[in-house]
Each structure stands twice: as structure tokens, then as C-alpha cells.
């Protein structure tokens, strides 16, 4: 009888141990069921949650601006070729379903914000304006607006 109880306890411990292993080794992941609607590579098949982070058009626009700002501020620190920077802006825009980023004023405001955040001088701002916005007054104004909002 005692032997039987001991065996039962060992079995129970083994089962509990196995369960614990299952629990511990699988933390921090997400289950298969939600992958389709989650983050990086797939869109929600059913809802409007096509973008991983956004839930409204306004918030999507502000997230795009924020991503452009972060990318520009980082470029100011790391440096690199200017055409590589422009190419990178295209990649950021594409993640927000935008291909013609040059025609989108939000892009320029985000770049201006990034320049301001990175502590760019007025002279540097002007150089970026010339390189990206040319003589387009609207684009230049958007860059200036972003720069002024984040200038340190």
C-alpha cells in the first residue's frame, strides 16, 4: 500500500514536472491562433487592422511621422550616403502603405522633426530642405514646422 502511494507520488511529480517544463519553455511567445493578425509579416485577414500598430487613420499618420522622425534623427547620428538615406525613407514609407512619399507632406514634417530632435542647426535644416524639398514652398514649410516643434 505504501509502495503504491509512493509510486503514485513519483508519477504525479513526473507529470507535474513535465507540465512545468511545458509551461516554462513556452513563455513570452504568442500562440498560433493570433499570428495571422499580429505583427510583422501578415495582416489581419478579417478586420481593418492591417497595420500592426494603428487603429485609426489619424493614428496611422502620426505613426508614419514618428517613424520618419526616428529614422532621420538616427541618420543624423550615424551618417551615411544621402541617397541611402532617401532610399531608407522609401522603405519606412512602404511599411505604412505609402509609395509616393515625396508627395506626402507628412514625410517632410517627420524629417523636420527628426532634424530638430537630433539637434541639427538651421544651416543643416536648409541643406536638407534644398536636397529633399527643392523650391516647393509647401514641403519646405512642413519641414520647418516639424523642425520647430522638436528643436532643442
Amino acid at each position: 500500500m505504501r509502495h503504491g502511494l509512493g509510486l503514485l507520488a513519483v508519477r504525479a511529480a513526473a507529470v507535474a514536472g513535465l507540465a512545468a517544463i511545458v509551461v516554462l519553455t513556452q513563455a513570452c511567445s504568442f500562440s498560433a491562433s493570433s499570428k495571422g493578425s499580429s505583427n510583422s509579416s501578415e495582416s489581419s485577414s478579417d478586420s481593418s487592422a492591417s497595420s500592426s500598430r494603428s487603429s485609426s487613420p489619424e493614428s496611422a499618420e502620426s505613426q508614419y511621422k514618428s517613424d520618419v522622425r526616428e529614422y532621420t534623427a538616427a541618420y543624423m547620428k550615424t551618417g551615411g550616403q544621402f541617397d541611402a538615406f532617401r532610399r531608407g525613407i522609401g522603405d519606412v514609407a512602404k511599411k505604412h502603405n505609402i509609395t509616393n512619399w515625396e508627395d506626402n507632406p507628412v514625410t517632410y514634417e517627420g524629417i523636420g522633426q527628426g532634424l530638430g530632435e537630433a539637434g541639427a542647426t538651421d544651416l543643416q535644416l536648409k541643406a536638407y530642405m534644398d536636397g529633399l524639398a527643392g523650391q516647393d514652398a509647401t514641403k519646405r514649410a512642413a519641414m520647418q514646422k516639424g523642425y520647430d516643434a522638436k528643436k532643442k
Binding site: 516554462l24 513563455a27 504568442f30 491562433s33 495571422g36 485577414s45 481593418s48 550616403q81 509609395t99 515625396e102
Partner: protein, 631 residues
Amino acid sequence: MRKLGRLLSLGVMLLAGLGHTAAAETGPGVEYLYVESNEGGSSGGHVALRVGDDVFHFEHRSPGILVLGRDDFDHFRYRYSVLENRTIHVSRLAVSGETAGLLADRFRRRHFLQRRHLDVIESLRADRTTLEEMLSHGIVVEAAGYFLSDHELAPEPAPLTEDPDLADLRSGVALAHGADFLERRMSSLRAALAELDPFAMDLPELPNAEMPPAPAYSFPQRYRDLMGALASLEVLRAARPLVSGSLRHRASDELVFTEADSLAARQLSDALAAALVRLVASDRPDGGVALMVGMARLAALGASRRQERWVVVDLFPSETTPVLRRRLAVRPEQAAVLLEDSSEELARTRERLVRRSENGSFPEAEFASFEAAANRSDELRLALAAERERRVLKIPLVPSRPARLGVAGLDRQALLHGLEAVHEREEAFAVGFKRRWGYNLVTRNCVSEVFSEIDAAFEGGAQESERRMGGRLRMDGSFNFIPAVSAAAVEASYPVSERLQLTSYRRARVDEMYRQENPVTVFLRESNTLTSAIYRLNADDSIFVFFTDDAVVARPLFGAVNLVVGIAASAVGLVALPVDGGATLWAGLKGALFSLPELFFQNIRKGSFEHVRRQGLPEPVTRRPEAPGGS
């Protein structure tokens, strides 16, 4: 005098207190979120830190890396507490607005840093693919598949017919930039292509640990971009019509033009054409794909105007390309919900597009949303009609159907040399990423990284962290790395001002039913997967009968039944192995495995949902805060 001093100091304290309160009120709130377990990859639970609207959480991904995700709170909640059916426990931390701002900055920086590394790894992968294609005399150009079919070296002959909208666009370009503009531009692109040096790969340099990689523009990227630009101008010069199968035409009345639609389509066409005239003259490096996408949309808008109904570019790859598919709902009422949701999304995005079309510029983001909604809706209807799996759209929602174009005259040795260099750099980035952010069950998981980042948010490190946060969670030599343990430890270590519980979707619905119906009926119906009015069979779940997350006393008994069912399903799955490829066997084995903890009063499995309407979700249940520091 002493009394006055005391009064003054009291006044200072009050002002300081008011200042603190004001800062806490104006700054973003900080919450520690513990997400209960479920089966699959989440059986140990999950944790996150919410700062304002952003939720930061570290996810364990293949190949053994820990990636910081950033979601808005609504999305996070929908994903975890609704689709994954897991209760979220919220501990609101009493910290100042300034501290919350520092935390937000730190987590955002870390998120950006990781994302840049992952982007570079992805771009190196694309470079490797491009070089391999070039070695076999071809190159895949994104979005070219809407106008060109795959061909190797010989260029396709110009078609006999022209697309009227592209012909108009060509005229617009000639008017704005000169009659010979396209020829001049194409000549300069060909010259740039010939000048590219395949020995100068210009790959991204390995960055320092805390710095993002500097942007690089590699040889394969440049080649791809120039080929894309050249192909797009060739399409425009010939005003090529779309390749058959590039558009989605739905025969239902749902997309027939109203008067407002008709006007909007005209305005969108004009605005898009004007934008494309500007784009053609731009010297941006990656303008070719944008032009190709824009021309496909312009042609689709032209077709819409002629047919007086919305016609959109097909965002799905051609039928031969592998694509993620989802099994369709087995119950008719669920299919009806999917259809209804899809129609609502289509109506909402259409209304927004029409509204935004009035301001004269082309609202690309709104157009992309409508285009995607129309694609999803059409795909769902076609899949339901044909009783087949529906395909799932990939992000980004940009038309990208590729075509393989021929390349020749490249130095093979240089390409092989470049391929080796790209491969080495790709490996170096992947190894660096894993070294810096590799997953470890105990020392670096979703819990430990949250608290490590909290300490790193402050210049004074751990000491300042403890002072600002009112406490500190230590990981060394404790079980705090387990998500559930960490949730209790947070409540004991930090000043928690409020506790909330975002009940899992099924439990919230069941609670609602208990309030409105006979409790015995609700229990009998909702305790199991066979008769539940809420739960629908989800192919991703294991095979089980009884829900045990809300049945504590009966848990071992229900668990025993679930175990027997799991074992029986595994036996059936073994027989069905040649027919279903092991799907039933795997679901049965998982069912048996996740029943074992239930025998010991522990619950992991809760069932999950493939689709739940976002509208009308239950409100979160608030629990009263206990004494500070209590558990």
C-alpha cells in the same frame, strides 16, 4: 518662528505634492501587464509594459531571439484578451509624468534600434536573392507583374493597344517635361546601370551595440532600383495595358458608383496623374516601383470610371505563388459575421476615400486601405463560393506583383564574389543580433528584459530606477523570471495605485450570460466546446471537450475527460495520418498534454478565436485596489 517654518515647509510639501500629481496626470500612465497562459507558444504567460498608448513587450521568436514589439493598446488587447482568449492583469504604477516619459523614450529607442537591425538583415537577405537571380540572368522587379509577364532576356514587343489613362499620362509628362523627356531619362538610366560596379557592393557596416546601423545603398539594391525605374518608363512609353488578371472586378451591386463615387473617381484620377507627372521627373532612387504602382492604380481608376463601379488592383500574388491561407469558418453564422465585417470595412474605407478625394491631392494611405478592403472582401466571397481556403494579405498593403526581367553582360566572377560578401555580412548581422538580444529562458526573457530596460531608462541606473519607481524588482536568484511570479512581485515591490483585470473574451461573455440567463443552463451549455454558443472550433487549438479556466473545483474531473479525449483523438489521428498529414494526431497529442496540468488543478488551455467582431466587446472588469505592497 518655528511655527512659521513648519507652515512654510508644509506649503512646500503641498506644492510639491500638487506638482507631482499634476505631472502624473499630464504624463503618460505606466502599467505592468501580465497576460495569462494559453496553449501553444504561450503556455508560460506573457508580460508587457504599457506607457501611455504604447504597449512594449518582448516576444520570443525564431531563431532564439527576443524582439521588442510595440503595439497600440487596443490592438494588444484585441490580440491577447480577445483572439487568444487570455485574461490580462493590469497593475498601474504610481510614477511621475517625467519618469513615464523617460521610460517611454528608452523603450522606443530600443524598439527602433532592434527594428533597424532586423531591417538590415532583411535587406541583406533581399540582396542575396537578387545576386542569385542575376547569376541566372534574371532579376525580379516589384510591381512590374501588372504590366509585364515573366520573361528572360528578350524584351516583350510593345502591345498593339494602349491603355487610355497611361497614354494621357504620357502626354502629360511630355507637356510638363518635354517631348523627348522619356527617351532622355531612359538613356541616363541605362548609362547609370552600365556604370554600376559589381565589385563595389557597399554593404551595411556592422554597427556598435547601442547605435543603429547607418543606411547603406548596396549594389544589388541599386541594380534592382534602376531596373525598376527603366521598366516603369518602358511601360509608360508604350502605355502598356494591364496584364490580364491584374484587376479585381466584383459583379455585385455593392461597388456600383454613386454620384459621389463618380466624382471622387474623377478627382482621384486627376490627382494621381498629376502626382505621377511629378514622380517621373524625380531623381529619388526607388521611384520606379512607386511609378509602376501608381500607373496600375491609374489604370484601375480608369476601368472604374468606364464601368461605373469600383475596380481595384489585385493585391494577391498570382495563383502560382505560395501564400498564407486560412481555413474558412465551418459554421454558416460565423461566415455571415465575416461577410458582414468585411462589408462594413469596405463601406467605411470607401466613405473615407471619397471624403478625402475632395482636397485635390491623392490620398494614398486612404486609397490603399480601400483597395485592401475591396481585395479582402472579394477574396472572402470567392473562397466561400468555391468552398476553398481564403488567402491572407501580407503587410505592407502595396500592390507588388513581381515580374522577372532579363539581365545580361554582368561579370560573373564579381557577382559570385559579391554573393559571398553578402552572405558573410548577413551571418555577421544575425550572429550579432543573437549575441546582443538572444533569448534565454531564465536570464533573458520577456520579464527580465522589461526590468533591465526600466533600469537602463535612467542615467543613475538601478539606484535611480528604485528611487523614481518607488521600488525595484530583482531578477537574480529568484523565480521572478516566470511571468505569473513577476506579476505578484511587481505588486509587492512597487507602489501600485490601481489593479484592473481585462477578462478573457470567453469568460467575459459567459459572465454576461450568467447575469441574463438561468445559471444552470449557462453552465451546462458553456462548460464545453461541443455546445458552447461562444466558442467556435478553431483549427489552431488542441482537441478538448471541457473548458477548465473557470471551473476550479471540477478541474481535475474535466481534465481527466479532456485527457481521455486527447488520447483517443491521437489514436484516431494515427490512423488518419496518411489522409490529414498528422493534423489530428498533433491536435490530439497537444490535447492530452495540456490536460495533464488540469488533473492538478492547474489550467493553461483556454481555447482561442479565429475571428471576433471588434464592435461591442465587453468592458474591462475593474478590481478594487488592495493595500499598497499587498499581493
